[in-house]
Symmetry: C2
Subunit: 200 residues, 2 copies
């Protein structure tokens, strides 16, 4: 196909194809779209990319992405600073905030421990969490990591570091998802849901 | 959600959401991906956009997109310049070239006549086609436009302009798509397929 298409169009499509969830056909369509955009709109698109790249950094407190000194959550005085929810990535914060249930603050690890992939404690933001706990008055840490081997390993590792400091460490409940059917729930989830059953 | 996310991240996601086929969730995911990219990769992406915008222009002969003086097809001496396939957009050329059946050259209209949308003959590249036909030795023009009202109106309009010049004007056959079932084919298509039936 490259033969019948302009080289810089092919190169742009290849760049789009590198993005997550974008296949060959959509990449091609997006490249055409970019080339046919009004000039102002294309400039805005490039500027949004460059601004995001230039302005966004980790919040010095919780490691969330921000373009201010502090992230919007750490900078909000009505949030409970004594309750920290530890998540893997900034996307998890978005999911939590959508639920509207959490009034504490967050800590983003930017990864999970995974010895097989060479990800050790120094590769994720564990040190920053410990420093924060020692400095601020933290009462409880909720580990809100994915329910898989890496998530559980990381939760356990951090819990062992924090318990000696007299901090309550909890984790998200595992159980049947809201709206889920018992019939189609896997055995491990059912076992956990049974173990953590509560009074009605 | 904007409250918990950095502003420039939200703005970048909004830019992605404007692109065709990209919804709110994927736009958000792409914005995160861009922010987390290694620096070199993000620069390459921006450069590909800027290069495509800067370098690509219409081929002076056929109006296809190109970043050379002539598009790769007009610049190819082994293509038959006396046979012109008229298409709506450069994407159609990609589709034709994939089929590998066509050895002539193209002419891109960049639109179809659509009086209701205010698109008249001067808004698409009809004048350029006429000039080309008068200048070069063209034997046949194949109208390869979509099989709908706008496509047929445009084909008819162009055919009426070209016939007095003694040029053969044809159009793509309509019929049952390859692999298609008669049972599920609409009446208009079936009627056309019957009308243009050919010897086996």
């Amino acid at each position: 196909m490259a033969q019948s298409q302009a080289l810089s169009l092919v190169l742009l499509a290849e760049q789009f194809e590198k993005l997550p969830g974008i296949g060959k056909k959509q990449a091609n369509r997006l490249a055409f779209h970019i080339v046919n955009m009004p000039a102002g709109q294309a400039d805005e698109f490039v500027k949004a990319i460059q601004d995001a790249r230039k302005l966004i950094h980790y919040c010095p407190v919780c490691q969330n992405l921000t373009d201010k000194d502090l992230c919007p959550i750490c900078g909000n005085n009505s949030r409970d600073k004594s309750l920290i929810c530890v998540v893997e990535s900034p996307k998890d914060i978005t999911a939590f905030e959508k639920s509207g249930e959490f009034s504490g603050v967050y800590h983003v690890l930017h990864g999970l421990l995974s010895p097989l992939d060479g990800v050790g404690p120094d590769d994720i933001k564990i040190k920053e969490l410990l420093e924060r706990v020692k400095k601020d008055e933290v009462k409880e840490i909720v580990m809100a990591l994915d329910s898989n081997v890496s998530g559980e390993t990381t939760s356990l590792y951090i819990a062992r570091l924090l318990k000696p400091l007299g901090i309550r460490v909890t984790q998200l409940a595992t159980g049947i998802p809201s709206g889920g059917a018992v019939e189609y729930t896997d055995g491990v989830t059912l076992a956990n849901a049974f173990k953590f059953r509560n009074e009605i």
